[in-house]
Point group: C2
Chain length 402, copies 2
């Protein structure tokens, strides 16, 4: 039995017209494969439900939140199954509790622990196409749980894992993963193959097609993914392990962010452990500190410390720093007008001089680099936000991504 997992996102099932289109896509696979379908809620539904809960309380019960929002997938899956039946196929919707999909962890952020295969396998063998509610599960006490926003990708990947699927196809509203955001650079090209590691960096650094933890799940379980559009019938992007990819490019893609803020503490009294004293209270308050640079103090007594955070965390961050009795500094300055540009590629591991080429390309365009951070397969720089398009354009050209 050759199994394929198809995942459809909210825009792919966003209307009855779209659901009919998706049913056609499913039917085309059903000739060759045993198809397992995971569906998100119709686009808009989940946000409507969340807004209703917020109108009751900003601290709406987590348990009831999960029950509330998971109703969205109940609607989309029953409609999609109904459409397949209408087209003469054997199909039915499956809610998490009917399978069951068992999760662990807290409400709103649960993780799928085990999927009971018995009923679904029996159903597949009978020629049925199961339409499974993504994003949801149940815990041991039969509470409905959800696995976080964008969670249907994770559901699909876990189904691919448990059912040893040949492939997992993520149907969405874009044609695949691009060398950089096509909205920011028209010459951006669709990537044919990308490694999990590169995709993970792309996702973490601002490419919004898939959530980082879904890609991580796929990487850990070696699930071959294809990301493609349910709107146009074109090949998408394959996400797979490095050794499956033959690539002569050093850089695979460029990502950028537009919600970073830079914070600088001037004249921090230097002593061992000062960085911990600054960052621990931020971490405790779930503020994610990204890039950090510390100027070595000339006199050995004072130092300037710069770091970036998400701009929506700025007010909270300033408050925490100003109330922190374990540190002394002269001045706190910040800049919301910054962006992070990153080049990503497994090719850079074996290619010397990539950093130099990046810096030179930016320098030639008179773009000032404020902060730098690197990993094995990516280099990120912080620049003024007004330079973002220029930066992406020149790097895209420099690394032959056109």
């Amino acid at each position: 039995m050759k199994i394929i997992v198809l995942k459809f996102g909210g825009t792919s099932v966003g209307s009855i017209k779209r659901i009919k289109k998706v049913a056609g896509i499913i039917k085309s696979y059903a000739k060759k494969y045993n198809v397992i379908v995971l569906s998100s809620a119709m686009s808009g539904t989940t946000n409507n439900l969340i807004n209703m809960s917020k109108n009751i309380s900003e601290s709406f019960s987590d348990r009831e939140y999960d029950t509330l929002v998971s109703a969205g997938e109940q609607i989309s899956c029953s409609l999609l199954a109904g459409q397949l039946i209408e087209k003469g196929m054997k199909s039915r919707s499956w809610m998490a509790w009917q399978i069951p999909i068992v999760t662990e962890g807290q409400h709103k952020y649960s993780r799928i622990k085990v999927i009971n295969k018995v009923k679904i396998l029996k159903y597949l063998k009978s020629g049925g196409i199961p339409i499974i509610a993504g994003f949801q599960g149940i815990d041991k006490k039969l509470n409905i749980t959800t696995i976080g926003r964008g969670g249907t990708d994770s559901s699909a990947i876990m189904f691919a894992k448990f059912f040893k699927a040949d492939r997992c196809i993520i149907y969405t509203d874009v044609e695949g993963i691009y060398t950089t955001d096509p909205n920011k650079l028209k010459t951006a090209k669709k990537i044919k193959n990308i490694s999990y590691e590169e995709m993970l960096e792309m996702a973490s650094l601002g490419s919004k097609v898939m959530q980082p933890h879904s890609i991580q799940d796929a990487r850990l379980n070696r699930i071959n993914i294809e990301v493609k559009s349910s709107f146009v019938n074109k090949p998408g992007t394959f996400i797979t392990k490095r050794k499956n990819i033959i690539n002569n490019k050093i850089i695979t893609g460029i990502s950028s962010t537009d919600n970073d803020a830079k914070v600088t503490l001037i004249g921090v009294k230097d002593r061992p452990g000062i960085a911990a004293s600054i960052f621990k209270p931020l971490s405790k308050n779930s503020i994610n500190v990204d890039m950090v640079v510390q100027n070595i103090s000339s006199n050995g007594k004072e130092t300037d410390l710069t770091f970036t955070i998400k701009s929506y965390d700025l007010i909270k961050t300033k408050k925490i720093l100003n109330n922190n009795k374990n540190i002394t500094f002269k001045k706190l300055i910040f800049d919301k007008n910054v962006s992070k540009v990153s080049i990503i590629g497994v090719g850079m591991v074996t290619t010397p001089g990539v950093t130099f080429r990046m810096f030179q390309a930016l320098a030639e365009k008179k773009i000032n680099i404020q902060v730098i951070s690197t990993s094995e397969i990516k280099i990120s720089v912080l620049i003024n936000r007004s330079n973002i398009t220029k930066a992406i354009k020149c790097l895209h050209k420099e690394f032959n991504l056109e």
Copy 2:
């Protein structure tokens, strides 16, 4: 443990504002009782979902229909439980499968067979207020089922039965049951007490506050019901057994319909079993024949037959009659401009002359009676629809309901 069952209809939980109001009502009972709440979907939700299914197919899968529409109660119940938690109470939503509520019969028209009391009793003992999804159940194979439109009333009554509740209060958007439709007669009065049997006739004959089969369930299980408004804090109408009611009125209420049609077959060739030959094919096609009158033929060979059906069944009925090879008739005529007016009251059992008074009152207003049908506690007449207001008004006065 004194248990009370509260049921809230769609308009009662139709917005976040309404849900907040309802939470206040629940709280007021929670001081004195162990409260079990049954909630419908927010008004509009169920119809929206049904319309989506119709956009897929008029013959949308019954199984998927039940899964689809039951999402409505999942939304309203989680929001209501969330609101109670926000107000500091212990509460949670319960879907049918979490209890479970086991049904039998076919999809869309299932009936509650058994409610597992264990978890709910434990939860009540712990001081919790369970918010239970009405209208839904599960079958033995763990499919979601629904119990027909207006089914949350039935759910509430079955909970009252299984938990031996003191009372079942049906909260709705009207203040109770009226002597006649207040939209048609301004002097209509709220009825304080009404017997199951009278209420059953009222409901069957056009009073839309409760579905007949819910009342029948209450009658069979001797559940005391109060129907009242969740919008204004006023006593409603009690529905109970006859002997609980002290009533000096002969007639309790008057109902009327506005979707009847009259069909007359002229010159039907008379023979034994002719009525069966006419009505059996109609019944097979789920056409409900209501009032019937047959003129005895003068020559013993031909007869005229008149009966009423719902006006939306008219086209189908004409087709079936014209294609019926077992009967011969000269002419088929019909009239969509008719209404049925009924007077209902247990008092008429012991009071002679009620029929005469009704007919005389109508005759005085020059209202022609076309067809008559009676039961122990009701008399129905078919009249021209243009006379309906006049008829209700004069009967309301004749039987001292003002």
